[in-house]
Symmetry: C2
Subunit: 260 residues, 2 copies
């Protein structure tokens, strides 16, 4: 039996020149054949956005020697759709990895994150998919402690597969924390408390910079937030059925009074 090298699609949301994606593609090269498709500009906070009403560009570039790479003018989700349809052309990759994001995508951030949405799109395409993120927003973030974990988690996914319509959301503690191991977790309940920094432009018109504070609303010790706070790599199995199944019975008891 010959063991074929797995084909691995690498995407991100920080853009094709981000140091985080270089770390990810280097680790994936150790275990498979890599194809990179990433946005040509930063796309943080793009969530599951797709490009409608505007055309898309997809251009092959030689950024790192020996790596098949494409930059895309669209969103992280567009990158996955273009990769599947125009590059792989139906012959699906064995794995889709997204990141490594400069900044955490734990808890509620899974909704806002382009990194995670690209991985979700991979899972919608029936490709085993993983999003990786690091607790460091800096362009010069140190990802060295993440490398062995990225490889080990990717290899486990390749070996065991993932249940249908699920993917993994992996977050790493900052380099300054000693990693204690891996914890399988649930998404913590939290929200952002926004603050809008109000300014005047040179024409005396008001504008806002959106900033915010992350507020944890969950004391559970089985959450990604808790695992990260204790120095663990958090792994949250993630799905995209948004149905609140537990409320269906209650809603069926409502009386809708339709008055024309």
């Amino acid at each position: 039996m010959t063991k074929k090298k797995p084909t691995i699609l690498v995407v991100n949301d920080d853009g094709i020149t981000a140091p985080g994606i270089k770390v990810l593609l280097e680790e994936m090269q150790k275990i498979g054949k890599v194809v990179v498709v990433a946005p040509d500009s930063p796309q943080s906070g793009m969530g599951h956005a797709i490009t409608i009403g505007r055309p898309l560009r997809l251009d092959k570039i030689d950024l790192y020697e020996g790596v098949e790479m494409y930059k895309c003018s669209g969103t992280p989700v567009d990158c996955v759709k273009l990769a599947v349809n125009k590059i792989f052309k139906g012959r699906k990759p064995d794995l889709c990895v997204s990141g490594v994001n400069h900044g955490l995508n734990y808890s509620i951030n899974v909704l806002y994150s382009g990194t995670m949405s690209a991985a979700v799109e991979g899972a919608i395409e029936d490709i085993p998919s993983i999003g990786f993120s690091l607790d460091d927003f800096s362009h010069h973030a140190d990802f060295s402690h993440c490398r062995p974990y990225i490889r080990a988690i990717a290899q486990q996914v390749l070996q065991n597969g993932l249940q249908k319509a699920t993917l993994l959301n992996v977050n790493f503690p900052h380099i300054s924390k000693e990693i204690k191991g891996i914890k399988i977790c649930r998404q913590a309940t939290a929200k952002w408390f926004e603050e809008f920094d109000e300014r005047l432009d040179p024409y005396n018109r008001e504008y806002f910079w959106m900033t915010g504070k992350f507020q944890l609303l969950d004391r559970g010790e089985d959450t990604d937030a808790y695992a990260l706070s204790q120095g663990f790599v958090s792994v949250v199995p993630t799905q995209f059925d948004m149905t609140a199944h537990h409320t269906i019975t209650e809603l069926n008891s409502w009386n809708f009074d339709i008055k024309e």
Copy 2:
């Protein structure tokens, strides 16, 4: 006991001049005090995107007489964040309604839809929230058959409330179908099969228009797709915990082999 009129935040993703939001605000004026905050340009397919790294504008405009309205330069989710923080200033509205979208947002579309993401953001802010969408992409779509249902559903939500961290995703059949009633459903399993229309620009550089076909992968009769096909208004209770709780036990049995 005096009955205070509820305060209702109206948002959308098709933009503040879309006919769908006019229908929604008119129906909401019949039952409450309305504040409209909507994008200044179409934002379809923006998913849960937020604006990072660019400033935001929020300007009061007089589009319809007697309606408090603001246009926002950001995404649908930005609109909700700005409304809560800069307009309501912590005193939350009693209801957040989004739409009426020109085009369906059933099944997997809940992930891509700016309409639904605005409603999800309302729910994150602990505001009872509903997204409304119609099976008609046209600018001249006829929403008249939706009106009594919009009112009835909004009134039931105001009366009964919604369970914590849940919202409603409501989709209406096309005007050409006789509405048979309301069905509480789950999100159907489906995906988009993309097609990329490949062209050359005047400089002989390739670009793509993304199009696609919606493919239902679900034969269930308890889905929104089935309800709509039978002429019902579909109501899917929706939540935003993305954890795949059912796979946690299995993942805990994996052996991660960390090699430095």
